[in-house]
Amino acid sequence: MSSLAKAKALAINRLRARKPLDESMIDRFLERHEVPIVEGVKCTFLFRGDADEVWVRHRIVGQPQQVPMRRVSGTSLWFVVIELPAGSRVEYQLELRRGEHYEQGNDPLNPHVANSPVGSSSVCQATGYVVPDWITPEEDVRPGEIIDLAVASAALRRETTCRVYLPARFRTTHSYPLLIVHDGDDYLNYAAMKTVLDNLIHRMDMAETVVAFINPGDRNREYANSVQHARFVKAELLPRLESELPLIAKPSGRALMGASFGGVAALSTAYRHPDVFGSLILQSGSFVFTDIGNDHGGGEVFDPVVRFMNRYRAEPRRVADQLFISCGIYEPLIVPNRSMIPVFEGTGMRVQYVEARDGHSWEDWRDRLRDALSWVFPGPQKYYYE
């Protein structure tokens, strides 16, 4: 191999070209490389260990989701090279077969894990993907405060736990917009939302906002077009917040937000109370519908969602003034989300739709937060001339 060809060859191929190749060389190879190895658009996935077959199982919709790995001859190392477009973030797991036994789990060579409502996965950050600089704490940013608020709900027949974010320099002489976030603790824990709020407010990308992070009890029931949930938000939580905090108590100052089933909860709550919330942020909403029949393939838990979405599609109506909608193009929900855009727009609502080369995970939703929050409650940037 010429030196030029060698320089261009993938790391895995340079390793395979070495003769003889022993396990100590593989030790050194793995010490030198982060896994998966990203070289331009080519991503090399690796597994080391005893197995009869190994597959990469990713979650890119429309692609074969089980990609077989090959063993590097005479060694314990398995590999496969997958091309991923620039800017992609892909979740995956490895599946192994040992005799008749199959097992699936996260990639032991990759410490990077993403969380989603259905568990965690390993993550491959392809070339060009950049972790936003507004998701990590910054030294000169004054942090907001989070206070716990218990709201006894007659509608839900349970005590709800809510965290309320008050922006830095919160003062009672000011009026703040209110954002209510479904799956609140998950947004705080997996999408760094407190840090994001601190940073975006500090940078004047978004307005100083009070944010109520709410949490479900039985999520599949409460977030799937539940009248009780909508009543809780509209008739119990909102009046409590507006009586205790200096809020802009009108639709333009109120927003609902949610991801996945949380997106359905936000949409269905606004659907039941169309004059209450001015804005919705819907991330990878589980907007599953059928055009013919009721066979949606999502399982029993989706039945009430599909009934709601089919009803909405039959008679679309304005539920807010503006919608911010985002979805990852690698997740199966991309099709229903894309399909809903013209339906929503047709009602006269202002729609901002954003796609990313990403999946159904908290990191995808985290990375879209700046677009969403600065669009719904824009910051005072235009007033500053330093």
């Binding site: 003062r171 002489t173 802009i248 005072p380 940037q381 007033y383 500053y384 001339y385 330093e386």
Partner: protein, 317 residues
């Protein structure tokens, strides 16, 4: 003769690399100075040490923002009315912007009608631009009405905390040889300047050095602008009337950073929109001297009728 040395008002570009001490020296000012940093909000006096250092420590901060907070916290009735006025103004601004946005879209659409008779298209364009100027004018008039109604209803001069602060501000201003007014949040700065009556208290009777939002506040018409906003280019918008110490000037701090200055056609349209006021860019390093009669020094940068940079001396309106 109009020069920096005898300027009534000196406008500067942003002071990230401060040249304030040199300007003060060139003007022959020795202090004491009054500083107005209300645009810095809660950092108003906590971070004004560097500013004071440039002024030879002979500086007294009027602390207008802190005084405003004191008024709002101590007078709930006034605070409620103040908040209501802001809500009304915010709604007016939103609706005005809606009209401006559609008018600008119409102008763009007319410009794109390439097969039309050029003369007819030009007439339509002029009509649409006239609508834009009318929107600006009416918006400013309505804002003045809102402010007048607010002050007539609230009668701030009869409210003890406001009257006391006004008196203190006037006294401090009276002791100052000159006033220095940096930038920051232009809306909060304007509120504080108006509330504490700084013009009747003598602001305009002494030399002023101002930049960024401070310079905007001195004009008759405060225009917000940012072609590089995170939500995409926005059309310049008339925000409010300023103190009116500078006539027929609209200032654009950090113009080359915040405006698409290379788009001469867009800049020319902006010049026509705000005429007869001249559009004065205040970029880093800029120094504009305004004489007591309001005339701009001939070397002052302005945006010409063709949308390109020129000077006040060369400007043909």
């Amino acid at each position: 003769m109009n020069s920096v040395e005898n300027a009534a008002i000196t406008l500067l570009g942003p002071q990230r690399r401060p040249a304030l001490d040199k300007v003060v020296g060139a003007l022959g000012l020795t202090g004491p100075f009054a500083t107005i940093t209300a645009g810095w909000l809660e950092r108003e006096s906590a971070e004004d040490r560097e500013l004071a250092a440039h002024l030879g420590e002979e500086a007294v901060n009027l602390t207008l923002w802190a005084r405003m907070q004191d008024v709002l916290e101590g007078d709930p009735e006034f605070a409620a009315a103040y908040r209501r006025r802001h809500e009304v103004i915010a709604e007016m601004q939103d609706l005005y912007l809606l009209c401006v946005g559609h008018t600008v879209a119409a102008i763009d659409e007319i410009k794109a009608q390439s097969e039309r008779n050029p003369h007819v298209r030009e007439l339509a364009l002029r009509d649409a631009e006239a609508v834009l100027r009318q929107l600006d004018r009416r918006h400013l008039e309505r804002l003045r009405e809102v402010h007048a109604a607010f002050y007539a209803e609230m009668r701030p001069h009869e409210r003890e905390p406001i009257a006391a602060h006004r008196e203190a501000v006037a006294e401090l201003l009276g002791q100052a040889e000159a006033v220095v007014m940096p930038g920051g949040h232009v809306s909060e700065l304007l509120d504080a300047l108006h509330l504490f009556n700084v013009v009747p208290a003598g602001l305009g009777q002494r030399p002023i050095i101002a930049w960024s939002a401070g310079a905007m506040a001195l004009t008759e018409k405060v225009v917000l602008f940012n072609d590089n906003a995170s939500r995409g280019p926005r059309c310049p918008e008339v925000y409010d009337g300023g103190l009116g110490l500078l006539h027929d000037i609209v200032v654009f701090p950090s113009a080359h950073q915040r405006l698409r200055m290379a788009d001469a056609e867009r800049m020319a349209a902006m010049v026509r929109r705000f005429a007869p006021a001249r559009c004065v860019p205040l970029d880093p390093g800029t120094r504009v001297a305004v004489a007591a009669d309001g005339s701009l020094a001939p070397y002052s940068p302005v945006i010409g009728a063709n949308g390109e940079m020129t000077t006040a001396g060369e400007f043909v309106g």
